[in-house]
Symmetry: C3
């Protein structure tokens, strides 16, 4: 899908100001350091400003402030990263197959399939499922009974949707994802064994959701596990049964929600940031990498735990062992304080 675009055309497409040469044709995007004469670059992180003077890029997307210092050809945007994102859609390298249902796909007769759908080799779709217009289901995917895939959605190869999973419009689900497996519900018995709590709910996913590779989203115990609109999940994320993720919340790789955790809208989770079960996180919360939320958060803001400073292992051993005696240390300090007051 790589194509050539003139700088003038790009400025129009992005709705940004072009300052400098207007008719150069560009065929790609690259970093400031590596861009060739027919590539566009962008400046968003100030620490890359040092590469600006030497870039060979045909033009550079940048803010008005940065552009005031720059003598080369500039595409001036209030939000150059967003402009870059939009431009990237014109150079994307994924080439879809033409719509068809491959002869090796196995669809139950009751499956509803919309128009302009691609269903790849060895895809299996069970009874009562529904695939919306323009969907793109790659090889070896499985869609269970009564699951619904909204129009314009893409399942990459080897995705598994269990039965009773509903996905909204324009989803992008990456390979290895498993949506709708049983939540982890088990009841202890008197002899130490466990009985299964059958998971009677489903999974309900909104519109414009992207789900990374090998992410797992379990079905609910009684009601649905819920993923809101515009949610973006990175790879290897785990969403437990009956968890709720609010609209436009994004999570970096390996973040996770235990069962019945509820996360609000517009939250940003760093990598491996997790929430324990039955806890609520309000709208607008940021969690730094590897934070574990063990109690509800009711005020927006940035929260952290866990990721203690990086040290040489020899220093870490000395320091971390002290954590095992921290309560005693604090009490010793309290005793010293009391002694000093007595002494004074």
């Amino acid at each position: 899908m790589t194509s050539e675009l003139s700088l003038a055309k790009i400025a129009t497409l992005l709705g940004v100001e072009l300052r400098g040469e207007t008719d150069r044709a560009v065929s790609g995007i690259n970093t400031l350091q590596d861009a060739k004469e027919n590539e566009i670059s962008f400046l968003t992180n100030p620490r890359y400003k040092k590469y600006l003077s030497k870039t060979r890029a045909a033009a550079v997307l940048m803010t008005p402030a940065h552009a005031s210092d720059f003598e080369g050809t500039a595409l001036i945007s209030d939000n150059p990263y967003l402009s870059y994102a939009r431009l990237s859609a014109h150079f994307k390298i994924f080439e879809p197959n033409i719509p068809q249902i491959h002869s090796s796909a196995v669809l139950d007769n009751s499956v509803s399939v919309g128009n302009d759908v691609f269903i790849g080799p060895n895809v299996v779709i069970e009874a009562g499922a529904s695939v919306g217009d323009g969907c793109y289901i790659e090889a070896n995917c499985f869609v269970g009974r009564r699951s619904v895939l909204g129009a314009g959605s893409r399942l990459a190869a080897n995705v598994t949707l269990y039965h009773g999973v509903t996905i909204g419009l324009r989803a992008l689900v990456h390979s290895g994802c498993v949506i709708g497996a049983d939540g982890f519900g088990i009841a202890p018995t008197a002899d130490g064994s466990w009985e299964k709590v059958h998971q009677l709910g489903g999974v309900s996913i909104g519109d414009d959701v992207e789900i990374g590779a090998c992410t797992t989203i379990d079905r609910g115990a009684l009601q649905d596990t819920i993923i809101g609109n515009g949610v973006k999940l990175d790879n290897q994320i785990q969403i437990g049964h009956n968890a709720v993720v609010g609209d436009n919340t994004v999570m970096a790789a390996r973040a996770g929600l235990a069962g019945s955790a509820k996360v609000g809208r517009n939250c940003i989770f760093g990598g491996d940031a997790c929430v324990v079960g039955h806890v609520t996180v309000c709208d607008g919360v940021q969690l730094t990498a590897r934070t574990l939320v063990t109690k509800s958060i009711s005020e927006p803001g940035s929260y952290s735990s866990g990721s203690t400073p990086l040290m040489a292992t020899v220093d870490w051993r000395k320091n971390s062992v002290r954590i095992a005696h921290l309560d005693k240390l604090a009490k010793r300090v309290g005793k010293l304080e009391r002694e000093n007051q007595t002494t004074e």
Copy 2:
């Protein structure tokens, strides 16, 4: 599989006392807040007791103690969560396909297949493998040479069993699981490169085991990796080569055992609780979420590490940086104590 049951029939099925209306027909289970008139609910967590007075549920599963306060229809159980688990089996929503071997499945001639088996589209089973009576193998699964799947087991779609994997009776293995991949065995050479230690063992899994989505269990280096009877593993768990998991031990999502870690019976691992290699954990140990077991545990009980308190990030920065100087701080306190003794 949803069906209607009378309350009287449910009381009989569960072996519990029914107090109140007996002939109402119910067709599902729901929470106290959301149950409709034809649904059963349950009270196990005392903090939901507040919803009891307003529930519309046809009947509520509860302990004798809770029932003494309750005027509605009660199903009285000493273990209402277990009763709920057993009831859930009557309303489960997974509808199995009828037994058959799909025409697109590829089975070696030497594969042994029991009675009443479903083998779905595109399943591949290699030479010498064995599938017990009543097994249910969903689409796109792979079963390697000489692997054995015990009677009544289900592999959900897209499960991979390598060669030489033995699974007992009534297993439930969720999608994306990989059982029997090579353990991580590598030997350093003089030039800094690594040579593979071929993994000559297999994986041996007991009866009544459930394994969550995208969980990986590696084959042993020389002998088998072993999972006991009644073990329940959540999603994205990692079990290294030659690890041993004792009977009825349960692990929440993303728990893990490094190579040759040995965990006893009836242990409960919180999410992301992990054990380093060559360490032993005795029977009856509980680990809180994100604990890292770095040395053997020989006494039953609850253990923890790692998940420090949740704070505003601005506070976390101030506090966590002090961890890098904790050894010095402790020494400063020791010096103060000695000075105070000298002073006194």
Copy 3:
């Protein structure tokens, strides 16, 4: 592939000295405790030396120092673990199918396939892809457009390679791996929603790389994500877009690199050791399990963070809560020190 070898033949194969009986036939390798008379064992970890006197093994691989104490048959090696690794190749239990392209595989006409290739059932290979001589692609794998698999490589069942992924010679990629899914690139918009940054790079993987089950390696945003030669990755590892892993670096299960993290050569990552985005780790760094690298490392050596000591949960609660007040505690100590100086 199990076979019998004489001890003399093994000594020759491994280039080690055989001391003792030479013509015993052996058919496997086992631990010192469990080896039978026709199995070889090895001693590498000194804590297993206690089993040496009672082993029934036909011969034991060991260092000259250990052999000086040992009266049984010894295979004397300066690096017995490496010798064991090499011997393991002769007893490996993976039995490959004979080269063929299975009739159910779906290959685009433009796919280039070398000699002596096995392509299993239901494998799908898209346009422009290339499969080198001697490759072994197991059931249900997917290889996207223009991806390249070097000679002698094996993809285990259910591996997904997206488009534009290049893998070098002799790779071993385990089941459930996803290579080339989109990196996690999103740009915030004014209304709180996110726009996709299309990922225009690919993934470039060197020679002699092994990748564990359910590991995910994302494609680059503009340029390739890069994995060097001889890299060994365990299961469930996550490599973000544009990360770089240097030659011969090895990572235990669930290690991870966030986007644009760069790791040098000959590094060793313990389990769950992760590096945040845009950070550089130099050659020769070791990270202990669960370390989070939050800033660049420029000196070789061992580094740690995070995994605080294991304690009884009751003690952990008392100690960990003090971390939330550690900054204040340090200040209290400083005040005491100043007071003491004033007092003296």
